[in-house]
């Protein structure tokens, strides 16, 4: 019976997608809500049932739909298994997914293409479930690209505006670049282990030699895939532009679920990563670099969603750092907590934008705490969680990462950078908080009149998420408090012989104390700057020096443009106009020209005078004589 549940979980959102996809514009909203939110909710319930079954120690449940591609050694079938790791991801996806569905019933209320939006959301949930529940790499890849497709559709949802279409196209292409790396990685695995099913691959890998060169290359290729999907250093520019999509989309896809796919993939293949330490080191370094880099950009952003986008990139950097050093459970722990508070922050931002009737620039907001009390409180809880104040979830997961990174040999350098980044994170989060909710209102009169608290359907999810954001830390209490680390032992069966990094108790206490002090200091300083002195960030045009450089996101987009798109365009136009026309076509046409002129020339010898003709004959005979008697 439970294997049927495994099939039902992805099936329901698919059915929701198909039905609401076919409904035309006039279908009433309650029908669509019932259908789409209902399907996600039922999947949530089913995954909770599975979670409890797994909790009580049952073996992973799997269900084989059909055998998909059987060619030579490749035995691929569409089959799903739910084990500890995927059940957690299931909970996140369906849980937060459901909340966001409810949220968007309110947020997208007066949107003409209502049905289409919800069908895309359901399709996204379907592909995400596919990604998480697949029991071989190709099914994960199916989910992987499917999710990329949905993010393309959802980002470009308001397709009337061409800028949004470009952002959608950019997101899809960037993901595709990552997917190429993933594909090459899959071929390497197939080539080395002869199959793509997790089970066989990990059994074979577990007794392969460490530092085996192919496994390192596999890990690097898979990591490239993760880079594309989870927007790390080279391929992150699509995430900020992806904010062009409606806010629930940013919350669901670009905060909670899709971007964590890369981390899920690395945790799933932890066996390989433990076997190649230097791949792990590369992951850690990239993670740390992204964290720092994105955090600095976040400082100077003035669009509420852009700040949150860069904070997501930096938090993902944290997670990758954890995975790099081998602390897979900590990485997952941070994924869970981050999902809650980042979704919360995005939804609050959504309700702020909703209230400000579309205004996203924080410079023209301020003092909203009176008009939007619930949003204000929930946003404040989110900010506390993300910057790592003790009782909230962010504190536990971030400190655990800091502790684990510290223990990693040679990790001191990484540790310091991460510490600095957490300070910067706290700084820009509070900057955002003060500027939007404190000080006096800077918007125009129309917005002021329109300001009102969001309706029930928006605030309830906010409250729920705030509760989770606050309490999520409990599932992974550090040893200091001698409580069992619930998450670690739940994930134990999935993580195989990972390195044990236990921070000494004294170090943890020191860490907690220091982080408390620093955070208090940061809140005070930011309060002074943005509320007391009310220093409003200056308009983009007249930024100067470094801050100008940072405000424009280090000109990364322009750099990519100059490095890749421009030369590619130039090469193609050159090929199209010159090579195609003259070189290749030219050679072919030259044959035609050759025959034409050749025939015109030869034609001339038919002069028509008989004397010449007979002369020609005589010459012919003479040649024959010469040829026969003197040459041959």
């Amino acid at each position: 019976m439970d294997s049927l549940i495994v099939l039902l979980i992805p099936l329901l959102p698919l059915i929701g997608f198909i039905i609401s996809g076919t409904l035309n514009k006039q279908a009433n909203h309650t029908l669509i809500n019932g259908l789409t939110c209902g399907s996600v909710f039922v999947s949530f319930l089913l995954s909770v049932i599975l979670f409890y079954q797994l909790q009580s120690g049952s073996a992973p449940i799997s269900y084989k739909l059909l055998n998909w591609i059987y060619v030579g050694a490749l035995k691929l079938d569409l089959s799903f298994t739910v084990d500890a790791l995927s059940s957690i991801m299931l909970l996140i996806i369906t849980g937060i997914g459901f909340l966001i569905h409810v949220y968007s019933t309110g947020y997208m209320h007066d949107e003409p293409d209502y049905a289409r939006f919800f069908s895309y959301l359901n399709l996204f949930v379907f592909f995400m479930l596919l990604l998480v529940m697949g029991n071989n790499f190709v099914v994960m890849f199916v989910g992987w690209e499917g999710v990329g497709l949905c993010s393309y559709l959802l980002i470009g949802f308001w397709f009337k505006n061409n800028a949004y279409n470009d952002a959608a196209k950019k997101a899809f292409v960037m993901n595709r670049i990552g997917d190429l790396g993933f594909l090459i990685g899959m071929f390497l695995i197939l080539n080395k282990f002869g199959s793509l099913n997790y089970q066989t691959v990990f059994d074979l890998a577990s007794h392969a030699a460490t530092n085996d060169p192919t496994i390192t290359v596999i890990c690097i290729c898979l990591f490239i895939g993760a880079l594309g999907k989870s927007a790390q250093i080279p391929l992150y520019t699509w995430l900020p532009d992806a904010m062009a999509g409606p806010t629930p989309v940013s919350a669901l896809i670009h905060a909670a679920t899709m971007v964590t796919a890369g981390i899920y993939m690395i945790v799933r293949t932890n066996v390989l990563y433990t076997l190649s330490p230097d791949a792990g080191f590369l992951v850690a370094v990239m993670g740390v670099a992204t964290a720092l880099f994105a955090a600095t950009i976040g400082l100077k952003q003035n669009d509420i969603k852009k700040v949150l986008a860069y904070s997501t990139v930096s938090q993902l950097g944290y997670m990758f750092a954890a995975l790099g050093v081998g602390a897979y459970e900590t990485g997952m722990f941070h994924v869970i907590t981050h999902a809650f508070f980042k979704a919360l922050l995005f939804l609050c931002a959504g309700s702020v934008i909703h209230a400000m009737s579309g205004e996203q620039d924080i410079r023209s907001m301020g003092g909203l705490r009176k008009k939007l009390p619930i949003t204000h409180i929930t946003f404040f809880i989110g900010t506390l969680a993300i910057s790592g104040f003790p009782p909230f979830s962010g504190f536990f997961s971030k400190d655990e990462i800091l502790a684990k990174v510290h223990e990693y040999n040679g990790g001191f350098m990484l540790f310091t950078i991460l510490a600095i980044t957490s300070v910067i994170t706290a700084f820009y989060m509070f900057r955002l908080y003060w500027l939007t909710f404190w000080g006096n209102f800077r918007g125009n009169s129309h917005q002021a009149s329109h300001l009102h608290e969001s309706p029930k359907s928006i605030t309830i999810p906010l409250i729920l998420l705030a509760v989770f954001a606050a309490s999520a830390g409990l599932i992974g209490l550090p040893h200091l408090f001698h409580a069992p680390h619930l998450l670690n032992n739940f994930l134990a069966p999935v993580i195989i012989n990972a390195p044990t990094l236990e921070a000494s108790a004294s170090f943890e206490i020191a860490l907690i104390v220091v982080s408390l002090i620093v955070l208090a200091l940061v809140t005070y300083i930011t309060y002074q700057i943005y509320v007391a002195k009310a220093r409003i960030p200056v308009a983009d045009a007249d930024e100067k020096g470094i801050s100008k450089w940072v405000a424009n996101k280090y000109y990364i987009d322009e750099l990519y443009n100059a490095l890749i798109t421009q030369p590619l365009q130039a090469v193609s136009t050159f090929a199209n106009n010159y090579i195609e026309k003259y070189v290749i076509d030219g050679t072919v046409n030259s044959f035609r020209w050759l025959t034409n002129t050749g025939s015109l020339l030869i034609r001339q010898i038919q002069t028509g005078s008989i004397g010449l003709y007979i002369f020609g004959i005589v010459i012919g005979i003479i040649c024959m004589f010469v040829f026969k008697f003197y040459l041959a």
């Binding site: 034609r603 002069t607 028509g608 005078s609 008989i610 004397g611 007979i614 002369f615 005589v618």
Partner: protein, 105 residues
């Protein structure tokens, strides 16, 4: 006793060859159609000489019979040729072959 064995076939061969080449030269260099006609006849007669010489050398009559054939055919040929020349003269007013240059390329 036949004269050929005394004088030797080569001299006849040379004679015929020389006559033949004179005929060819005539056809090549002369412009007047009638002269060309006559040179062609010369060439045919050179061949006749050769035939007769060889037939006597092998003393088998076939060669001489061939000569008759050639003469008959040559006559027919000349008749037709002259008819065409008259036609040409009536149309072109001259017998010079260079006037006949319309069909070219």
């Amino acid at each position: 006793m036949n004269i050929i064995s005394e004088v030797g076939i080569n001299s006849y061969l040379w004679l015929a060859a020389i006559l033949f080449s004179i005929g060819v030269m005539g056809v090549l260099f002369r412009r007047n159609a009638i002269i060309i006609l006559m040179c062609i006849e010369l060439m045919l007669n050179a061949v006749n000489i050769l035939f007769v010489a060889f037939s006597v050398m092998h003393n088998n009559p076939a060669g001489q019979i061939m000569v008759f054939f050639i003469m008959a055919v040559a006559a027919a040929e000349v008749a037709v040729g002259l008819a065409i020349l008259i036609l040409m003269y009536r149309n072109m007013g001259s017998v010079d072959i260079d006037t006949m240059k319309k069909l070219k390329w």
